[in-house]
Symmetry: C2
Subunit: 319 residues, 2 copies
């Protein structure tokens, strides 16, 4: 009972209610009031210790990231975050851990306007499962299907930083001291592109968030849209931290296949390019055109107009 | 990849869509269209192996029960089931297990009209976390608060069967052969009182589902309603299987404190008693008046007009 109260203290007390939450934590269900003419976007992601994160991850980062990866799913649909439930399994009740984890979780929740409306805490091997609910005007959600031959291919932010950050954390890579914190933060505290996703409604023909790595995730878009794509690897946005720390071919490899960037990959028709610039400018999120949608069903990488062969530069690094 | 396809085969293929599911499994989020003038009821329950279930539970029962316990939360609010997400963590991918588990899950889903709209399967110690969404006309949801001094106290079905069923399964109790299957099924395949919950809207002043046992769960109602209650233990509905297998005092103990019955406990004012009979008759669910709400904040048990002392009859059995 004391343990239960401890958990309640850290979670229920900071579970601030949005105005559309009629009944929050504390009954058999929560009650929320959906907005008129909006669809609800729902996604569920589980993080399991030793599978999705190492036991030494700072609990604050784990709390933040558990929500951020779910918010990234909403972002890729163009949905506005609303409510979440949290299923938390813990091997023990550790006050310091709970305090740090909940701080990270609520930092993200408050920044992105999400109310924690329910959950379940159980004893067992550490895992975090969040189901997120967002809202999107009916008929405007972005999906993986819809990319058309000739559409332009874009990504937000820079690619590969998170994977390099993980290698730094695990001691597999050493980088210049000035880049250490940046890279580690890109791994622990990704920025779900929630505003960018909303700005892309009515503009993008398809969208997906990058969790497994560009070269892997784009295949879902190609398959579900029934198209191919060409990417010019020289156009891939790479941070100074990435390019200064790695050889050119290594940097390509991280940018193409490093996971957990949580940037958006999206396609825009030629006719919408101008509107895209205007809409994205308001979000302050950088975005880069990296290639084009083609007919067929193949992903081609090119450099200087020639086919770029990934297998020669250690693409298997992450597999 | 082969494993992933196997999981997809068992879950995605049977995830039949309701008409209000705009986009089901297969993108970053699902999209659903909430009904006008309804609130969404959301609840989340996690079952962890060796905490909530034994490793020898038949996987079909586990699949059914994982959803049933969530449906019971919707029932207690008077909400109509709609959509669910499933976070499944498994130590290995076992085709027979997946087939049986998904059969049990979808048997319940199809019976109660729930669409599986998303989920996440991860490798790790076995656990099942379901977030369920239901709909209820705004302003009509039943909660734990609202019981008033003088209201009558009711439960659906019979109490204690599930706990006795578990004792039979674990070899702690032997019962007459004719009751074996009934009791085991009451433990493995509880009946969430979804229709009864909906019938109680506008009628009950409070409701809760019985997961931890009557004597424990009623305290949530008393606390959140700011009332006390008196229960006449002779009125507690007990099945022939329970009364024939146990001494009278043991049967009281199971009925009062055996968990996992997933029946509803609810309160109804004197003025609504007649309407209650009519409304419940349509659902075919048996219900029994077991006591009355009082002022104060105490739970009193009585028998033959005298105080009934639980501690003398082995109430600690389940603690």
């Amino acid at each position: 009972m004391k343990e239960f109260q401890l958990i309640e203290h850290f979670f229920n007390s900071r579970a601030q209610s949005r105005r559309d939450v009629e009944l929050g934590i504390g009954d058999d269900c929560a009650l929320v009031q959906p907005a008129a003419n909006k669809s609800i976007a729902i996604s569920c992601d589980t993080l399991v210790e030793n599978v999705h994160f190492y036991p030494d991850i700072p609990p604050q980062a784990l709390g933040y990231k558990s929500l951020a990866v779910n918010l990234s799913d909403l972002a890729s649909m163009g949905a506005e975050p609303a409510w979440m439930t949290l299923a938390l399994t813990l091997p023990d009740v550790d006050e310091d851990w709970l305090k740090a984890f909940s701080t990270g979780l609520f930092d993200a929740a408050e920044y992105y306007g999400v109310s924690l409306i329910g959950g379940d805490t159980t004893r067992g091997p550490r895992s975090i499962s969040i189901t997120i609910n967002g809202q999107v005007p009916t008929g405007t959600a972005l999906t993986r299907a819809g990319a058309k031959n000739g559409d332009w291919l874009y990504v937000t932010g820079t690619l590969g930083d998170s994977a390099l950050g993980l290698d730094v954390i695990r001691g597999k890579r050493q980088v210049d001291t000035e880049y250490n914190e940046y890279l580690i933060n890109r791994h622990y505290y990704p920025s779900p592109r929630v505003l960018a996703g909303q700005a892309l409604r009515h503009l993008a023909s398809s969208a997906i968030d990058l969790s497994d790595g560009l070269a892997s995730d784009i295949k879902h878009v190609l398959k579900q849209s029934g198209v191919g794509a060409v990417i010019d690897v020289d156009l891939l946005p790479r941070s100074p931290a990435l390019t200064d720390s790695l050889s050119e071919t290594e940097a390509f490899s991280y940018a193409l296949s490093g996971g957990e960037d949580y940037e958006l990959l999206f396609t825009v028709s030629e006719a919408q390019k101008g509107a895209l610039e205007t809409a994205m400018a308001h979000t302050g999120v950088a975005f880069t055109q990296i290639g084009q949608v083609t007919s067929g069903n193949e992903l081609r990488l090119i450099r200087n107009g020639e086919r770029f062969n990934l297998t020669n530069i250690g693409f298997e690094h992450f597999s």
